[in-house]
Symmetry: C2
DNA sequence: TTCGCCATGTAATACGTTACATGATTGG
DNA sequence: CCAATCATGTAACGTATTACATGGCGAA
């Protein structure tokens, strides 16, 4: 999976492992994440499989960088992946909900404070996402050739926003129910 | 993680690996899942760690069963886990959204049919969840000592329902936006 | 001078997933 | 008689996560 991810970003422009990590953290963190260790090792493997090629750029004053670019084979592999539709749902693993499932025996106040803490975290995420919107708009203006891409990026951001709004609403409802118990 | 999961269920009553798999699939599939291979090996390991003990029951006519029960150490370990609150958000990995992010170059109709397929899947899940509700109610009547637990189980089911409703609404909005492109 | 950022990697471990493997019973 | 369900496990592989490891630059 991370392979297609990296291919997808390198399809826009050549990048280093570090750039890819930054890009992932800043633009798709609402639906995916990856560790830098994973990114570097996967890139190496992809080069062995001839999906990418790297160029070592010696930085004068700056740190050295290894810049990866797609090969034709890499571009083809990416296209093949995109063209075969997803026929399953992505599984969910929500630790908070798992903990709540077993929380009947717990002290009411410690459950409540745990839920309040999560409420804070999700509220912060939501604010973050709202902050990204103008960022995307700007991208659209400065690079008109990406106009169509920008529309799709916005749709994925909307998913992040919808998810957090839903989560916050559920937390508030749940907190009220427990308080009333 | 799966360890605490299994401890949590065994805290209600002794069970076999098979029972645990069934229970997980039927009662918490909206926020967690596990493979039977994982369950059996984890149970063995937990027995080595003295968190559970197993009793081999030779089935006359029926298949043999290995029934696991919690030890005091297992019960304590579970309690310790429950008592230390979760301070982070569970990460999301949504393959559909990842694919959509890179879909600007794709044929509009193949994107749309992929989204329609997901719409179907999520609609089916939602219907399934609505089917579980009376099941839980019944559990509450036949085992009054679980009344408090049932309230928490319902809250987790509400999360599943909210999630699917949100997902379906987002899909419908996204489908409309792509159709208008 | 210390913290954070830039930049790269490796190693070890833990966890998840698919596939292999067996065999009895029950219902259509 | 065939498929589904009950019931248990192992093996191989693949991916994720944490920790280790290095070093320069710039700002407070």
């Amino acid at each position: 999976m991370i392979k297609y991810f990296l291919l997808g970003f390198l399809n826009y422009q050549p990048m280093t492992g570090y750039d890819l990590k930054q890009t992932i953290d800043h633009s798709v963190s609402h639906f995916w994440h990856a560790y830098h260790s994973q990114i570097y090792t996967t890139l190496r493997q992809m080069e062995a499989d001839k999906l990418v090629v790297s160029e070592f750029v010696h930085g004068e004053g700056q740190p050295d960088r290894r810049v990866y670019s797609l090969t034709d084979a890499g571009r083809a592999e990416f296209k093949t992946w995109l063209d075969q539709p997803l026929t399953e749902m992505s599984p969910i693993k929500e630790e908070l909900v798992l903990r709540l499932f077993f929380s009947a025996s717990r002290d009411k106040n410690s459950v409540l404070s745990e839920l309040h803490l999560q409420h804070d975290l999700h509220q912060k995420k939501l604010n973050e996402y709202h902050g990204i919107t103008p960022h995307i708009e700007q991208n659209a203006k400065s690079a008109p050739e990406l106009a169509r891409d920008v529309l799709f990026w916005k749709m994925t951001l909307n998913m992040g926003i919808s998810y957090e709004e839903m989560y916050i609403a559920w937390l508030e409802k749940t907190i009220q129910e427990i308080e009333r118990m």
